[in-house]
């Protein structure tokens, strides 16, 4: 029986059924209409169950181990600087410090490389407790406007950052408005470490989502400055920091790529970072961290996947052993009619 045969007979059948009774054209009986299509009837036999559990266990444990070792290879330096970068005297007035335009926001941090880091070393900033996935935040953007100059005025979805001084903001919306504006300058042994900020955004975003003819306009000119300003002479498709930022994070703790250091860092290298601590996360208790990390095939450092795979795999192995034991100690003949409830009761089995 092939698919064609089945469907044609089905069609005939429908016509038959609506035809009056007297129209006694003998209907075509096919295996389809009689519900007798060839079929596989899997049954969970002990062998199947044990094999399935064992197989899963045997596949999962190695994957778990591989993931763990991959995660182990990743070298990661995380430095939380939001508190330390505020001078002693302002510790109790963090907001005032951040909001004042007078204060010097420069801050110097020293990082020590714990293990050799092969290039490229990715530089991320990590924000904690920052709800880039907040409903109002996520929606406050205009993808049309970002794509092409023609839609510059489409800012309806951008409220409350849609217009300033009577004309549209480009790029509009809360997301762009709150663009991250801390900057990092790295030096190793007083030698500047170049951070490559090219190609940190998705190529697809640069090519299709952010227009090369759209230039920032009217941006951060309102009463309240949310974050970084943009160079109005560079088209949006080249503003990679913005593009990275605009790809909103899924979770309240997230990293964003800042750049890449394309030299290897050796063990115990002392890296000096000069941070311009501009971005105000203090108002809502957010944390800021600087992260330097290498990657492997599972991404950054993350032991969870390995642990999860090991757990599931181990559990499956355990279950498979359990079932083996159960089958050995409480066997049952498959398909024995004497187990049928009516036979069982009649035969005096306890039901």
């Amino acid at each position: 029986m092939n698919s064609k045969g089945a469907s044609t007979s089905g069609g005939d059948g429908t016509r038959d059924s609506s035809a009056p009774r007297r129209n006694s054209k003998k209907p075509k009986y096919s295996r389809f209409t009689q519900q007798e299509l060839p079929a596989c009837k899997p049954i969970l036999t002990p062998a199947w169950i044990i094999t399935a559990f064992a197989l899963v266990g045997l596949v999962f444990v190695p994957i778990g181990l591989a993931s763990l070792s991959a995660s182990e290879q990743v070298v990661e330096i995380v430095d939380r600087y939001d508190i330390d970068c505020i001078p002693e005297q302002f510790q109790n007035h963090q907001l005032a410090y951040m909001q004042s335009s007078q204060t010097n926001k420069t801050c110097t941090r020293n990082l020590i490389v714990p293990r050799k880091m092969n290039s490229p070393v990715y530089v991320y900033y990590q924000l904690d407790n920052f709800y880039q996935n907040h409903r109002r935040y996520v929606k406050s953007r205009s993808d049309k406007q970002l794509r092409s100059k023609a839609y510059e005025h489409v800012t309806d979805s951008c409220k409350p950052e849609d217009k300033a001084n009577g004309s549209a903001i480009v790029p509009c919306g809360l997301i762009a408005w709150s663009l991250f504006n801390d900057t990092y300058k790295f030096s190793l042994d007083s030698k500047v470490l170049e951070v490559n900020k090219k190609n940190i955004a998705w190529k697809s975003d640069q090519d299709h989502k952010f227009g090369s003819d759209v230039y920032p306009k009217n941006f951060q000119s309102g009463e309240l400055i949310g974050g970084a300003k943009l160079n109005a002479s560079i088209p949006l498709s080249e503003q990679e920091d913005l593009i990275v930022w605009m790809r909103t994070a899924a979770l309240p703790t997230f990293r964003k790529l800042y750049g890449k250091i394309e030299v290897d860092l050796e063990l115990n290298d002392k890296i000096t970072v000069v941070i311009q601590n501009n971005y105000n996360t203090y108002s809502f208790g957010g944390k800021k961290k600087l992260v330097l990390s290498t990657t492997t095939w599972i991404g950054g450092k993350n032991d969870f996947l390995g642990v999860a795979y090991l757990t599931v795999g181990g559990l499956c192995l355990f279950l498979s052993i359990c079932f083996v034991l159960l089958y050995v100690f409480k066997p049952r003949t498959l398909g024995d009619p004497s187990y049928l409830s009516w036979n069982r009761n009649a035969a005096g089995h306890p039901s």
């Binding site: 429908t14 079929a39 899997p42 880039q132 975003d205 309240p252 079932f323 398909g335």
Partner: protein, 1209 residues
């Protein structure tokens, strides 16, 4: 009508012969005169006769006897008061015999041949019909209104409406309305198409032509233009355009034959006749006033009178011909339209059966409420948390980058209405966001699945009656799954268990038993008329010895009695012989048309024995007696009624004698037989009768008496007086009949076999094994019922029979108390027996309850009902005999109202309609007794034995499939909602979804819908063979094993676990990464679709290529949809899926989620299936491995398994 069975089809035909007879028996005409009198003279005599006795009508007759009460008014009406249904007294007969006068304010006045006056001041509707539901203008509002009767749609409409409120804008407006609009649109298009087809057929119908009297001439007129009061002329084989009172016909006595197949499905011809008073008036000069009752739907009743020539004449149901019938065997008929268009009885009856609701769906509502509560809980949690969050950050809301309530460009608050309002909005948004918790797709899926199931039921060759070519019909589409949970089957007997093809089997003539019948085609079966051969349509087995007696030995007592016996059979009936042409011009067939199959059988038997009924007119009967054509004058006919339980005919014989032939039920006949003579013959006949009825034959006793001239004159004057009486005519006529039917000589008795249908005993045995209690409700007498009970294995010899057969309420009470005591004792006994000897076959003594209709009169609808219920449920078999149609419904209601058990009623006749509509599931047998039962039923099929396939196979499958599908749909949507919910906890409770709104909308429509529908239609847990072999497997449906609260809660627990796995595995894996919302959303979308499909896959019993294609196809389709959505640049998630698919982590996560999500369920399933196997599980194993254990080689287990690859593409 002469059978022992109470009136089953209250057809007015029964009244006709009486009326026709009366035309010839008008005066004291000696037989010789009557014989020679021409038709003209008889007609002229009739013309000046005073009010006719036509209302010697069946309606009055019916009411006269409570036992045969069949208030046809109750047909299809649900609002009839139960109190009217079961008359508790049998004594109203006298009162009801009188003709009810119609009061002026409840009458309709029809001025014959004066339509203008008739339609003034009240305009009656014209004769156009409209079966369409909509016009172009009203289509949209009405269709929508009807569709929104489904509460779920209203819920979704409200949500879609809420979504349009700017503050609550969760989905884009299009996305939120789309699913509902799709569903509504599809249904609307379907409805519109159907309505258009109805419109077209209406138009054809309305434009048909008929000839109507216009300006004293008959001119063609469109049907739709006919008005009440107009005179219409119908030619032979024409359809009748409206309900009209017959005024005259081509037949000089005013008889017209109509075929009512469109109305009640009975294919035999019915006789209708015009009143003598109107017969002779030419239509052009006809005038008069008909006062008739208001239009009603009772097709068997009509009350009216006609004022013509200053006389008032009553009209009854036999004077009206109804729209939808066809005129047959009559050259023309002229009538006056009384009901037109939508007032016609056929239109008033065209409403369908009341819709029923399946048990599963009722249960489903319980769980839907549960889901609604959890939905509210989820929303409340979100709302409270959101409120708290807002409260904690209330001072920062102006500046928080991701909230920013202050709009600095105009200084106002942006989209902020205070914490109170914000929480309210949050709640509503949460409801919109989580709305799929109550699955809209489920309702559509259920419809589709039922459609599919119905398709397969209709196609099943196991339920197709090859003989009559009648297919299974699925008339109700919403109770398929109820078929899997039936606990009680109420069955009619005649036509359902038996074929209702009556066959003459044996006769006891003059105290001698002739039952050695043999099939003899040639012998005595044909006669030649003018060189043509006439033969009866059906051949009957004849006893050669009896033939010898008939042919030879003329003059002996024995031969004379035998001749009289068959003469009685040939004459004492209401059968109309109809001559049919055959392909061979030299041969003609005589078809005996009549309403009672018993009479048909008797007339065929008489024909086979040489007494062939050739012609029957209103005044005489022509019988070919052993080759000699003889004419008998019908001088009088006493209709069968259920008080006398006999009918009689007074015949003027060619030899100038007047004979009274009576036939009737044995108990009634022996009361009127003269016992002083021929005592030995009477005793022999009684013995034979006993033997016949224990064989399950229906018996009739035939008697006769020769009337002397004086007796005849007495009778005639009494008859004349009775039939001209205006009030109490029925009772008087009955008294006249009873007076003359006495001191009879016994002629003999006949035994008619009501053949059991094929496979009935086996079917009943299967049903019994399946745990279904079979009750038989029959109109037959007790002995016949019991013997049929034995022959269909309902009763067995080891059963203890409790018979309740009482004639007063006190007796009934006592019998019931005794019966309860008895069942208790037997129960205690068997319990004791089980305690002492465990392990042996069940020691329980089976009990059968046999109760008759008379007792039921005192029991139903009184306080004794409760006791009857106790007794009946304790019994294994219940047999109700002599029950009236509405009592059948009463018995069904007895069970239905007191238990939760599902009931099924199966029957074939109009008398089963009430029972079929009362039961949870009504099954009609498309058999001999017309199509009333089929029209009222939910399912219709050809034979009783198909019930086994229907219940055990299709019912089981349907239930299993539907139950699983409902649970699965709940699970599927809940997983999705929980997954959304977990994410909301990480978005500052702002109800963001990572999943794109399109995926949310498409989730239950495209991503996951098809596999569940396919599984719902095609999956089979067990093969047909196994299900039929082990009927006990049906119990799983009765015990609600596949859908119950426990399963629901377990499923929901599993749901929570799976949603946790889906959400948290990616969450934890991507906790500190650069993952963006859309990418993570894509992972979740794919993960949830894969997981729910794998979940389904694990539960599929049978994988054929369609299952494979839909299951894997759906996952692929999801991936494609996600890819397409992510390829649209203006959506924020542009290109995410390509990025995330490129990482190994993505694939590992999908694998991990699927396995981690399924492990608990799989382990649980593996454990229970092996260590706590259900019957179904064992049977499945048996199906697969059983051949190893079982020696029976005949069982070839499913060859299909060995070739799964073959079908898979």
């Amino acid at each position: 009508m002469a059978s022992g069975r109470p009136l089953l089809i209250p057809s007015p035909q029964g009244a006709n012969p009486a009326a026709r007879t009366e035309t010839n028996s008008a005066g004291p005409i000696p037989p010789a005169v009557a014989k020679s009198s021409s038709r003209r003279s008889s007609r002229s005599r009739n013309a000046d006769r005073t009010p006719s006795s036509s209302e010697f009508s069946f309606a009055a007759e019916l009411k006269a006897s409570s036992k045969a009460t069949f208030s046809v008014e109750n047909f299809g009406r649900s609002d009839s008061k139960p109190a009217r249904r079961y008359p508790s007294k049998r004594s109203d007969s006298g009162r009801l015999g009188s003709q009810r006068e119609i009061s002026d304010d409840e009458a309709r006045f029809v001025y014959i041949n004066d339509a203008d006056r008739t339609n003034n001041p009240v305009r009656f509707p014209n004769n156009s019909i409209r079966t369409t539901k909509y016009s172009i203008l009203t289509f949209l509002p009405r269709n929508l209104f009807e569709q929104f009767h489904r509460l779920a749609y209203v819920y979704f409409l409200v949500l879609a409406g809420l979504n349009q409120v700017p503050q609550l804008d969760v989905y884009s407006p299009v996305a939120s309305v789309l699913p509902l609009a799709f569903v509504l649109g599809v249904t609307a298009v379907k409805d519109a198409y159907e309505d258009w087809r109805r419109h077209r057929s209406d138009r054809n119908e309305n434009n048909r032509m008929v000839s109507a009297l216009v300006d004293a001439k008959f001119r063609p007129k469109r049907w739709k233009d006919i008005r009440v009061g107009e005179i219409i002329r119908i030619a032979a084989n024409e359809s009748i355009p409206c309900d009209m009172v017959l005024l005259s016909t081509s037949d000089p006595t005013g008889v017209a034959y109509v075929q009512t197949i469109n109305l009640d499905g009975e294919s035999n011809l019915k006789t209708r006749y015009a009143k003598q008073e109107t017969l002779s008036t030419p239509p052009e000069s006809m005038s008069g006033l008909i006062r008739c009752e208001k239009p009603n739907r009772n097709i068997y009743g009509f009350h009216a009178n006609i004022d013509v020539d200053g006389k008032r004449v009553s009209l009854g149901p036999s004077n009206i011909i109804l729209r939808g019938c066809e005129l047959k065997n009559t050259n023309w008929a002229v009538g006056a339209a009384v009901y037109t268009g939508k007032d016609t009885k056929v239109m008033l009856n065209s409403s369908g059966a009341p819709s029923k609701r399946s048990r599963l769906e009722t249960h489903m509502n319980r769980e839907t409420i549960f889901l609604a509560i959890s939905l509210t809980a989820l929303c409340s949690v979100v709302t409270i948390l959101a409120g708290l969050w807002l409260h904690r950050h209330r001072d920062e809301l102006n500046y928080l980058p991701y909230y920013r309530k202050k709009n600095f460009s105009d200084g106002d608050n942006y989209d902020y209405y205070g914490i109170g309002w914000q929480t309210v909005f949050t709640f509503m948004m949460a409801v919109i966001q989580f709305q799929v918790m109550i699955p809209i797709a489920l309702y559509i899926s259920m419809e589709l699945v039922r459609l599919g199931q119905a398709f397969f039921m209709i196609q099943d060759k196991g339920m197709r009656d090859e003989k009559t070519k009648s297919k299974f019909q699925c008339r109700a589409l919403n109770i398929n799954e109820d078929l899997g949970q039936i606990k009680y089957v109420f069955s009619d007997k005649t036509g359902t268990l038996t074929e209702n093809k009556m066959e003459f089997r044996c006769a006891s003539v003059h105290g001698m038993d002739f039952s050695g019948g043999q099939d003899d085609e040639e012998n005595g079966l044909f006669i030649s008329v003018n060189g043509q051969i006439w033969r009866p349509k059906m051949s009957v087995k004849t006893d050669p010895e009896l033939l010898n007696v008939l042919r030879g030995g003329k003059g002996t007592e024995k031969a004379n009695r035998a001749r009289d016996f068959f003469l009685a059979l040939a004459t004492c009936n209401t059968i109309v012989p109809i001559v049919i042409e055959t392909p061979d011009p030299a041969t003609k067939l005589i078809d005996y048309q009549g309403e009672s199959p018993d009479e048909q059988a008797l007339v065929y038997a008489a024909a086979a024995h040489g007494f062939m009924l050739m012609e029957r007119t209103s005044g005489h009967i022509i019988v070919n007696v052993l080759g000699e054509r003889q004419r008998f004058d019908v001088l009088g006919l006493h209709e069968f009624d259920s008080d006398r339980k006999r009918m009689s005919v007074i015949i003027g014989c060619p030899d100038k004698t007047v004979k009274l032939f009576v036939k009737g039920a044995d108990n009634s006949m022996f009361g009127v037989i003269e016992r002083s003579i021929n005592l030995d013959i009477i005793q022999a006949t009684e013995t034979h009768l006993h033997a016949y009825s224990s064989l399950g034959l229906r018996t009739l006793v035939i008697g006769m008496r020769e009337l002397s001239r004086a007796e005849f004159d007495d009778w005639q004057s009494a008859y004349e007086k009775a039939s001209t009486t205006l009030f109490g005519r029925g009772g008087l006529l009955r008294a006249v009949a009873a007076n003359v039917e006495c001191n009879l000589h016994i002629l003999g008795a006949s035994g008619i076999e009501d053949k059991l249908q094929q496979g009935v005993p086996e079917a009943i045995e299967s049903l019994r094994q399946a745990g279904i209690k079979v009750w038989v409700l029959t109109g037959d007498k007790q002995e016949t019922a019991i013997s049929i009970g034995y022959s269909c294995k309902l009763l067995t010899s080891e059963m203890t029979q409790i018979v309740i057969n009482s004639h007063s309420k006190d007796y009934c009470r006592k019998s019931l108390e005794d019966a309860i005591a008895m069942t208790d004792r037997l129960a205690a006994m068997s319990l004791g027996a089980q305690n002492t000897i465990t392990g042996t076959e069940s020691q329980r003594v089976p009990i059968a309850l046999i109760i008759d209709g008379t007792s039921l009169v005192y029991i139903l609808e009184t306080e004794l009902e409760e006791e009857l219920f106790k007794v009946a449920t304790a019994c294994d078999v219940v047999l109700c005999c002599r029950v009236a149609p509405l009592q059948k419904a009463g018995i069904v209601a007895l069970i239905k109202n007191r238990t939760d058990d599902m009931t099924l009623a199966i029957g074939d006749g109009a008398n089963d309609v009430s029972m079929i509509q009362m039961a949870d599931v009504g099954v009609g047998i498309s058999g001999q007794e017309g199509r009333q039962a089929v029209m009222a039923s939910d399912f219709a099929m050809g034979q009783f034995r198909f019930l086994v396939t229907l219940l055990l196979v299709h019912g089981h499958w349907n239930y299993q499939r539907m139950a699983y599908m409902i649970l699965y749909n709940f699970y599927r949507n809940a997983v999705f909602v929980f997954m959304l919910f977990w994410y909301v906890l990480y978005t500052a409770f702002s109800l963001t979804t990572a999943i794109t709104e399109w995926s949310s909308v498409l989730y239950s429509v495209i991503y996951t819908a098809l596999p569940t529908i396919v599984v719902g239609i095609l999956d089979k847990d067990l093969s047909r063979k196994t299900l039929l072999k082990y009927p006990q497997l049906y119990g799983s449906g009765q015990r609600e094993e596949r859908y119950n609260l426990k399963l629901f809660i377990l499923t929901m627990m599993d749901t929570v676990w799976q949603s946790l796995a889906i959400f948290f595995i990616p969450f934890l894996a991507y906790r500190h990464s650069t993952i963006d919302g859309s990418s993570l959303g894509d992972i979740w979308t794919l993960a949830v679709v894969i997981l729910v499909n794998i979940h389904l896959a694990l539960d599929v019993f049978r994988w054929n290529w369609i299952t494979h294609a839909s299951m894997w196809g759906c996952i692929v389709a999801t991936a494609i949809c996600v890819i397409i959505i992510d390829s649209i640049p203006v959506l924020p998630g542009y290109w995410s899926i390509y990025h995330v698919m490129g990482t190994g982590l993505f694939w590992l996560l999908l694998l991990g989620i699927t396995v981690a999500g399924m492990v608990p369920r799989f382990a649980m399933k593996a454990f229970t299936e092996y260590f706590m196997p259900s019957d179904i599980q064992i049977a499945r194993e048996l199906e697969k491995f059983g051949n190893l254990n079982e020696a029976t080689a005949s069982e070839i287990p499913m060859s299909t398994f060995s070739q799964p690859q073959q079908g898979f593409i």
